[in-house]
């Protein structure tokens, strides 16, 4: 299980390939990648603030919880902070499990918890000003299914 919090970009292809390689006893690997999305067409950048002392701790707790609930061979979480432009990757998770249902569910669980329980805050920098992204009720509600 590897947890990485960093400012610089990560190499999604290389990370995904390394994660999925030499898994002789794991039939299923799922990855999720979050990308800076420009919905309105006027987003200049996304700035992600985080709470350095708490971030790795919170992610490790979430990953350990996933490992205790599903039959997981391995998990990976990479989350960036700082400034990113549309199209850039913000974060990724990966899960490896003997069976696909476990790999899918654990990845969705990691994402749901990471969205609402890991100390990151997104600010959208537009051409006409900037605004903190509001938490969605749907994201909080998503936690109730686990």
């Amino acid at each position: 299980m590897r947890i990485v919090v960093q400012e610089q970009p990560f190499d999604f292809g290389a990370e995904a390939a390394a994660f999925a390689t030499n898994r002789h006893d794991m039939g299923a690997v799922v990855t999720f990648t979050g990308i800076v999305r420009d919905i309105s067409g006027d987003l200049s950048a996304m700035e992600i603030e985080h709470y350095p002392g708490m971030t790795a701790k919170a992610l490790e707790k979430i990953a350990a919880e996933a490992a205790s609930r599903w039959s997981l061979g391995d998990a990976l979480v990479i989350h960036r902070h700082g400034r990113m432009v549309p199209g850039e990757m913000i974060m990724m998770v990966a899960t490896a499990a003997p069976h696909r249902a476990d790999a899918f569910e654990a990845a969705e669980f990691l994402m749901d918890y990471l969205k609402s329980r890991a100390p990151f805050w997104k600010k959208e920098i537009g051409k006409d000003g900037s605004a903190w992204v509001a938490a969605k009720d749907a994201d909080e509600d998503a936690l109730t299914r686990w």
Binding site: Y51, A118, F120, W132, A135
Partner: protein, 81 residues
């Protein structure tokens, strides 16, 4: 006790971190004490239902005790992922 602010809480109060000398027994007591200081604090803490709190880097509640706590952080609901 170190008190940290993140995202719009940090922006409203105007600083990321300060050391606070307090006898507050709970998070709510500390919030009342800070809100009474200045308008910028009052604005930041106007609606605590829109805030989250972490004690020594663990999510907690506004009625939690501050006994033994060294670091309190206030911030809006997280929006990572």
């Amino acid at each position: 006790m170190d008190v940290l602010y993140f995202a719009w809480v940090r922006e409203r109060i105007g600083i990321p971190k300060e050391t606070v000398d307090t006898q507050a027994g709970t998070v709510a007591d500390l919030v009342a004490e800070l809100a009474a200081r200045e308008d910028r604090y009052a604005a930041a803490f106007a609606d605590t239902s829109a805030l989250r709190v972490a004690l020594d880097q663990e999510l907690s509640d506004f009625d939690a005790s501050l006994t033994g706590v060294r670091e309190v952080a206030f911030f809006p609901p997280m929006t990572g992922g």
